[in-house]
């Protein structure tokens, strides 16, 4: 069995192997170690691979856990008993939800939740995750071991949380998956190799979550949002790799299958209400997708959706987007009033997007000098190289 085939098996089976171990022995760090040792054994012994690779991996990893428990005399007797027999495996059971919930435990920081999800649920190696986030492998290793230690200290258990806790826990999983998606998507104007992998993985995990929770409309909404965003990917950079803003994208290059799937999901879940933030953001993306070109955008509808989004998930970033929609639907002066309000918040005043939106609205209002100054301010504040090039270009054009 070659390395590639083994990796495929591992990516498919590792969450199930981990879940089977976790059901009997609650500590994620120990279970991950045992699963890793089983994988190493598989690399040596599988020729050809067994008929039931999952069962093989679970059995071997369970033995490692037992050996470890025996070797560790300090362990309580009850823990030894808990790992004394290989865990039975309920057939066809989907463990991905429980594992996601554990990795997105509220005791962990967002970055730890993201790292642990990619490690334990996606089966990515520490080196791959480190490469995806452009940090040294040792740093990512430290994040992961700290995350596991935090779970241990918090007494986090594998399994479904109480029904009253579940909504908040699922919301955290969705936030993490969307963060993974965004990390991959916004990076894809760069040159990192694993971007496509991150967006694909986020979509795959959100689909799995949707299978585990078919009636959860926000899970469906998040999947729709990812698909509708991902559909624009072929049009979002030009031949030189520079970012192309939404209004200037060649919409014939948007991928129609992903748009169709995203829209179909929304048509199914939106009428069921109440509508959450992912469904609303997806609906906004769908309105953009329906317009054959930027000029044909139904800004009145987008504005109505942002009004709703601001009630459901208020925050300065949403208000800023609403300012754009109001500016386009009503007129630049109305949008500028909203932006000026946001500039009172020192954090937003230091955010490049506030000034980029202000510049755009000033340009629409005919104030070219004001627009150029605002574009320059935005360019100075962004940490994104493609955005900075774009904003500097817009500033120069406004001054012409």
């Amino acid at each position: 069995m070659n390395e590639r085939e083994l990796e495929d098996v591992w990516r498919r089976e590792s969450p199930h192997v981990l879940a089977a171990l976790l059901r009997r022995h609650g500590d994620l760090a120990d279970c991950e170690d045992a699963a890793q040792e089983a994988l190493e054994a598989a690399a040596k012994q599988w020729d050809p691979p067994p008929e039931n690779p999952r069962g093989w991996l679970i059995t071997v990893a369970s033995r490692r856990l037992i050996d470890r428990a025996r070797a560790d005399a300090a362990r309580a007797d009850r823990e030894q008993a808990a790992v004394a027999e290989p865990p039975p495996e309920p057939p066809g059971r989907d463990d991905s939800l429980e594992l996601l919930l554990l990795c997105c435990h509220p005791a962990l920081s967002r970055t730890s939740q993201v790292a642990l999800t990619l490690r334990a649920v996606s089966g990515l190696g520490t080196a791959e995750i480190a490469a995806a986030f452009l940090v040294p492998e040792a740093t990512m290793g430290q994040r992961l071991s700290r995350a596991r230690a935090t779970l241990r200290e918090a007494g986090a258990r594998f399994g479904r949380p109480a029904p009253d806790e579940l909504p908040a826990r699922v919301a955290a999983v969705l936030d993490v998956l969307y963060l993974v998606f965004n990390e991959g998507y916004t990076r894809s104007a760069g040159d990192a190799l694993l971007d496509g992998e991150l967006t694909r993985e986020a979509i795959r995990l959100t689909r799995e979550l949707g299978r585990a929770l078919p009636d959860h409309d926000e899970v469906a909404g998040a999947l729709a949002l990812m698909l509708l965003t991902q559909a624009r990917e072929p049009a979002r950079t030009d031949a030189r790799g520079d970012l192309v803003p939404l209004a200037e994208q060649d919409r014939s290059r948007w991928r129609s299958e992903e748009i169709a799937e995203g829209v179909a999901i929304l048509e199914r879940v939106l009428p069921r209400g109440p509508v959450g933030r992912f469904q609303l953001q997806a609906a906004i993306a769908a309105v953009h997708a329906e317009a054959p070109d930027a000029a044909a955008t139904d800004w009145a509808q987008i504005r109505a959706l942002y009004d709703m989004l601001e009630r459901v998930a208020p925050g300065p970033a949403v208000t800023l987007n609403r300012a754009v929609a109001v500016g386009m639907a009503v007129g630049p002066a109305a949008g500028l009033t909203i932006v000026d309000g946001l500039l009172q918040d020192p954090r937003m005043a230091r955010h490049h997007r506030t000034h980029a939106v202000r510049a755009h609205l000033l340009e629409l209002a005919g104030d070219r000098v004001g627009a150029a100054q605002a574009y320059e301010r935005a360019a100075a504040l962004t940490a994104s190289l493609p955005e900075q090039r774009y904003l500097n270009r817009r500033a120069a054009e406004a001054r012409r």
Binding site: T186, G190, A383
Partner: protein, 130 residues
């Protein structure tokens, strides 16, 4: 999000930790100095353990720098320091954190009497077209 924390200082003589060689820090009572050093070591350990510290270096004397300026179509080397400013770049740390707020929190903890700490975001290749 990655940031560099730049430590500007004027240690006399040049030495590390820079605090030990600046008068503002030397003027403090010894217990206070010891406590601040211990605090700094502990924070550095925490950052590393949390997976936020990517690296860092203490730099050699600014007077030992070599400067290269393009002159008459080729690089011309001269001896440092780079500027006549009182403070020079004495060291740097590279961190990767969740938010600007966290970066600011960390950078403020690097401040020490007599030094100036500068927090700068690093540029990244991606972006948002929205």
């Amino acid at each position: 999000m990655k940031y560099v924390i730049l430590i500007h200082s004027n240690p006399r003589p040049w030495g590390h930790p820079t605090a030990d060689y600046v008068p503002e820090f030397q003027a403090l009572p010894e217990e206070e100095r010891a406590a601040m050093h211990a605090d700094f070591e502990r924070r550095l350990g925490e950052l590393s353990e949390r997976g936020e510290l990517l690296g860092g270096e203490a730099l050699g004397d600014a007077a030992s720098a070599r400067l290269y300026r393009w002159t008459d179509g080729e690089p011309l080397a001269t001896d440092g320091p780079y500027s006549e400013a009182k403070e020079h770049l004495a060291g740097f740390f590279l961190i990767d954190v969740e938010s600007q707020e966290r970066a600011e929190e960390i950078a403020s903890q690097f401040a020490s009497p007599g030094d100036t700490v500068e927090l700068r975001a690093t540029m990244w290749p991606g972006g948002d077209e929205g």
